[in-house]
Amino acid sequence: MDMKRDYYEDIQLLDSKVLWFWFLMLIAALATFPFIAPTYYVYMANYMAINVIVTIGLNILVGYTGQISLGHAGFFAIGAYGTVMLMNLLHFPFLLALVAAALIAAFFGFILGLPALRLEGPYLAIATLGFGMAITQVIGRWELFGGRMGVEAPALSFFGIPVTTDLGRYFITATIAFVMVLGARNLMKTRVGRAFIAIRDSDIAAETMGVNLVYYKTLAFAVSAFYTGIAGGLFAFLLGFISPSTFNFILSIYFLAFVIVGGLGSIFGSVMGGIVMTWLLLELDKIQELPFIGGMLISFSENFMTVAGLPNISSIIFGLIIVLLVIFEPLGLYGFWIRTKIYWKTWPF
């Protein structure tokens, strides 16, 4: 059952042999999936893995430490541009460039964490938002970074093996995502993770108990930015081409939406949120191709709206999902999961 008798049981990755079995099955499924699925779904899986990393990164900040950020697209951009530029200009190998760019993002996260020490609520929201805007504007105006036109990602090779297909990228992206998920899960069980949670619940009480607020709040920003930076670097290779307009304010809202939909303060929830929302994001663009609803929507658009604007319906649905989830299920998908689990555990009763 869920009872924990000592600390070592709490930090264990998996607490029973059955779970180990399913864990290995999951790894096997993830490893065989790209060979069975069509290329488009492999591409989608890459996208999902990247968004899962971002969602976890943002969740560490928003869900675990209780700080809001509307500027994560900025860290995403730093990761993407950093990786590409380090590879293009300084000829770093891919993995080194990715980590270096993520560390740069983490450094910016640390900087942004400094004003955040004194700010909360809307004030913190505007400060992070301003940061995100500033990053994309600066990148967009800087000729070195390709300006408004953007820049192409260099050819990707992994320890000398050239990677050109979605299948190859899948193994890099999925492995990194898997490691990052486990890392976040373990981080939250350590002293650092517990300090984050204490700050979220009450920063004054945490400080009284000896949690160094300056250290842990900036650390939370840095860790979150690191995750987002890694995801950004992978994203650059997923698209093959990046331009500043990709990393706009709306993207930051989308990231926040992933976190909310998944569930605040839950790693598993973030994984679900990243996966489900990416699927929605990619599928809603093709809503008019749905068998029955699509036709209805097109005729409705012709009569009352414009057909050209039909893809914007994804924005409406996303907005509705956010609003309804916040109102009816503040714990997000994780809340659903918990409830189903409890329901089936005690099922006939």
Binding site: I253, G309, S315, G319
Partner: protein
């Protein structure tokens, strides 16, 4: 040159001030920075455009129609979504308004597409008035005047009308206001209606200068929000002053240093100001007690 930059800065600043006022009015009662404000204004501006252009109503009819629409939109959003949130914290309220933003943006771009349109306005943007060595367009002058009139009206409203005073009471302490027989929920609806209308005025004044498309209010909203934060989210006067300050600083920077980095400076200044005065320039900073 300086005077010219100052004047156009004030003209832009008054738009920011309007949006900032709209946000502060909501923030003080509902305690949420309303990120949907911009899209609410954008949608209302589109309604004005539709009445004016598609149905051919007169200018006066369509603009008042849009204002009425804005008021109803505000009440609708508050009543249907915000009021339903159980036991909300600040983050979930912010998210609900971000949700509005996306819904309204989606609706507007579905209905009107991404085409850029012109909102024909009876006041011209090209005819200029001379003020000393500087010039100002009739439109900017009208913007300035409308803003000033609105501010005076707001001041009078909060000072002398019963509803205004009830609103202030609700802002200070909802529970005590309820005990004193104020219908807090109704006051909330009125607040949203007012704020939405003020935002719509800003949108309609902005549309002739910019082009009317669903992205119309994206940046002005952020600037308006920024000026509200600069002045202090809890004071109406501070927010308005913050708007003017932001407009002037931005324009001076754009004129003398670099036009390209104009927008970044606005946010840079705000982050700096917040480092030293965490509740904005003109608001009193309350230290939370345990």
């Amino acid at each position: 040159m300086f005077l010219q930059l100052l004047l156009s800065g004030i003209a832009f600043g008054s738009l920011y001030a309007l949006i900032a006022l709209a946000m502060v009015i909501i923030y003080k009662t509902s305690e949420v920075p309303n990120f949907g404000q911009g899209e609410m204004a954008m949608l209302s501006t589109f309604v004005a455009f539709m009445l004016l252009d598609t149905y051919g109503h007169s200018f006066f009819v369509s603009f008042s129609g849009a204002l009425v629409f804005a008021a109803f939109l505000g009440v609708f959003l508050e009543f249907v979504f915000l009021r339903r949130a159980k036991d909300p914290n600040i983050l979930s309220l912010i998210l609900i308004t971000l949700g509005f933003e996306m819904i309204l943006y989606g609706v507007a771009s579905w209905k009107w597409g991404a085409d850029q349109r012109d909102l024909s306005f009876p006041v011209s943007d090209f005819d200029l008035v001379n003020i000393g060595p500087a010039v100002i367009s009739y439109l900017n002058l009208a913007t300035l005047l409308v803003t000033l009139v609105l501010m005076v009206l707001l001041f009078l409203f909060f000072r002398y009308t019963k509803v205004g005073i009830a609103m202030k009471a609700t802002q200070q302490n909802p529970m005590a206001a309820r005990i004193n027989g104020i219908r807090v929920n109704r006051i909330l609806s009125v607040t949203w209606a007012m704020s939405s209308t003020i935002g719509a005025v800003a949108g309609m004044l902005l549309a002739p200068v910019a082009t009317l498309d669903p992205n119309l209010m994206l940046e002005p909203l952020l600037k308006g929000f920024a000026s509200a934060v600069l002045g202090g989210m809890t004071t109406l006067v501070g927010a308005a002053l913050g708007g003017y300050m932001l407009g002037i600083i931005e324009n001076l920077f754009g004129g003398y240093v670099s036009l390209e980095f104009k927008s970044i400076v606005a946010f840079g200044i705000i982050v700096l100001v917040l480092c030293f005065r965490p509740s904005g320039l003109f608001a009193k900073h309350y230290v939370r007690k345990v």
